[in-house]
């Protein structure tokens, strides 16, 4: 079992390393992730939300529904923990 999981781990790692060859160079300022949406947020966040911290303005203002969904996840997890750990009454 241990050798089987080791072999499958190494196979998964080899595939990921093969895939990482096509990634942009690390720290490249013109990589697709840094040139597509985020310049809009950096340019307009002060004008739109009057907040110098871009991360919080995107988190709470541009993508507020995302944060609402996250709060739902935390609420569901807390309810799950309470239901699992409550003391059951003996019948």
């Amino acid at each position: 079992m241990k050798t089987l999981s080791l072999i499958s781990t190494i196979i998964a790692g080899a595939f990921l390393i093969y895939g990482s060859m096509d990634m942009p160079h690390w720290g490249d300022p013109y990589s697709p992730a840094s040139t597509h949406v985020s310049p809009y947020y950096l340019r307009n966040s002060l004008k739109d939300t009057a907040t110098p911290n871009v991360v919080t303005s995107v988190l709470a203002d541009y993508r507020g529904y995302d944060t609402l969904g996250e709060t739902t996840v935390i609420f569901t997890a807390g309810m799950g923990c309470l239901l699992l750990l409550k003391k059951r009454r003996k019948k």
Binding site: G27, N53, V55, T56
Partner: protein
């Protein structure tokens, strides 16, 4: 982004990760995992992601370690592997 500092931090991360999954005493393993989370937080602060860094320091290294210690103290501390 300083390459040598980055490399040293990632080396510490590797040491902490391997120690956390090989130590047989579960309480020690959980505390080493807390150290892993703090090194991760340092690495993110160094990658200019400060909001993520202090969220990690408070949530994952703080509350996560507390939850782990609570669970280990209510179950057993020894493990076979």
């Amino acid at each position: 982004m300083i390459p040598t500092f980055n490399f040293i931090l990632i080396l510490f991360l590797f040491v902490c990760a391997i120690a956390a999954i090989t130590i047989r005493d579960l309480l020690s393993a959980v505390l080493v995992l807390g150290a892993y989370s703090f090194f991760m937080c340092l690495l993110w602060a160094q990658m200019t992601a400060v909001d993520v860094a202090f969220t990690e320091a408070s949530v994952s290294a703080g509350i996560g370690t507390v939850l782990f210690i609570g669970a280990v103290s209510r179950t057993e501390r020894r493990s076979k592997d």
